[in-house]
Symmetry: C2
Subunit: 240 residues, 2 copies
DNA sequence: CCTAAAATCTCTTATAGTGAGATTATGACG
DNA sequence: CGTCATAATCTCACTATAAGAGATTTTAGG
């Protein structure tokens, strides 16, 4: 039932939920009461329901306890102060990627990445920086699944070409993408690793006019170094 | 099971969960798999589990679709720009209060209120601004339940005294609290109403040295007016 | 106060879950 | 690569809980 609450449709009436889920009235009300009592949904105006306070609370708990966020925040602050950009960390959950922390140093950033925003796997520097470090058997299914996207943004036309491109990213330790997600924006991302396995990516996204040749090299080096330090800190912190 | 993930204990191993919940291994693993598949929990280092991406995603959905946040954000920006403070909106969920939006204009605010942080009901300007506008039959149980807190912060020693103090808040349209939640901090809060019923509170919390007599009056007027406008905008928006 | 709609209750019938014990999968170590 | 200990899953008999039709109660609006 909770999956029905989306960006496109954040509120549902009991009648609508009954129809959509195929339950009778007593059953639907029993589920609704259960979700209400636990705080996952709450009534809103007009007799409808929306996601409730428990969701807000749980995200707070998640955010407060994530060692990755603790380790990354100083770097996000530093990078966003040094460049007119948005600095963000995106976690890789094995099947999806979500932004978990972001700081913007420009008022109306060319790209907006609040926490919780999903990211597309087939395009952009973030996705590529993660794919480049996945083991062969984990990356092959993703390459196959997102082949069309990868082709359309010019990564490569065949699996071999795509894997060669990923190998170059792996060697460089950083991925750079021009306008793949947001027209006019440059994305520069490096993976955050846990024992060599990518769990997240640190990215700077900056408006095209600000980012040229030598500056991209400089930012790339800063992002790669910051990602390396976050990798160390986030995994050390958990171990101790 | 999800209630076990707290600020004090954000990670649990399957063995610990088995003991705490009293389930056998197959049952515990079946629940764990179900929560993993739906994204509510995720594995972390050392074979333990923490709250997962679904939580982060759902909070994003909640935040994006909340008309109260859309209506309040410009006011939070304006108020925090005008004073060296933290401006925040706290939602009242009938049994608990959570901060849902906050903007700080000082680097190390005397009080920190990120989204999702729970608030105490028995003390502070926010709680009082909400209680003052609740119908008699809703506020009486709260007055009884939090009598000790209300006494300890000087609101009143008896129910009658407490109700009289709440009546004054209601007449003023704003509650002011000195150091009740955070020593040295002044809180100034006004309720956000939906058809006369309080659903949230707009608050400014500011360091004591910055907040004296005439300035408190001025800020009070600004907060009251902003809360009134948010009340209008948030309920109009939902209706249309 | 009345009425329509929202919400809950009762109880028969249907469906799903728990856990003991067995088995398989995985990871660490030599 | 093989071994071993632990993590994780499977099977199935027994137990527990849920769904929904129809009735009833509660709530909200006029």
């Amino acid at each position: 039932m909770l999956d029905l609450f989306t960006e496109a449709r954040p509120q549902w009436s009991p009648e609508e939920l009954m129809k959509e889920l195929g339950y009778t009235r007593p059953t639907l009300y029993r589920y609704l009461k259960s979700l209400k009592d636990s705080g996952f949904v709450m009534p809103t105006r007009g007799g409808r329901f929306a996601l409730g306070p428990r969701v807000v609370e749980m995200d707070y708990l998640s955010r407060r306890s994530d060692p990755l966020i603790a380790a990354a925040t100083p770097h996000l602050e530093r990078l966003s102060a040094a460049h007119p950009c948005t600095a963000l960390v995106v976690r890789w959950y094995g099947e999806k990627m979500l932004c978990v922390a972001s700081i913007a140093s420009v008022v109306n950033p060319v790209s907006s990445y609040p926490r919780g925003r999903p990211m597309a796997m087939g395009r952009g520097a973030i996705a590529r920086s993660i794919m480049a470090f996945l083991p062969k058997q984990r990356v092959m299914p993703l390459v196959t699944r997102y082949a069309a996207d990868l082709r359309s943004v010019g990564v490569g036309d065949t699996s071999d070409e795509i894997l060669a491109a990923l190998k170059r990213v792996r060697r460089a330790g950083v991925a750079v993408a021009f306008g793949e997600v947001t027209p006019g924006a440059v994305g520069i991302a490096a993976p955050i690793l846990d024992a060599g396995y990518p769990i997240a990516s640190l990215c700077i996204t900056i408006a095209g006019p600000h980012a040229k040749g030598e500056l991209i090299d400089r930012i790339s080096a800063e992002v790669r170094e910051a990602a390396r330090r976050i990798s160390e800190a986030a995994t050390d912190g958990t171990t101790s």
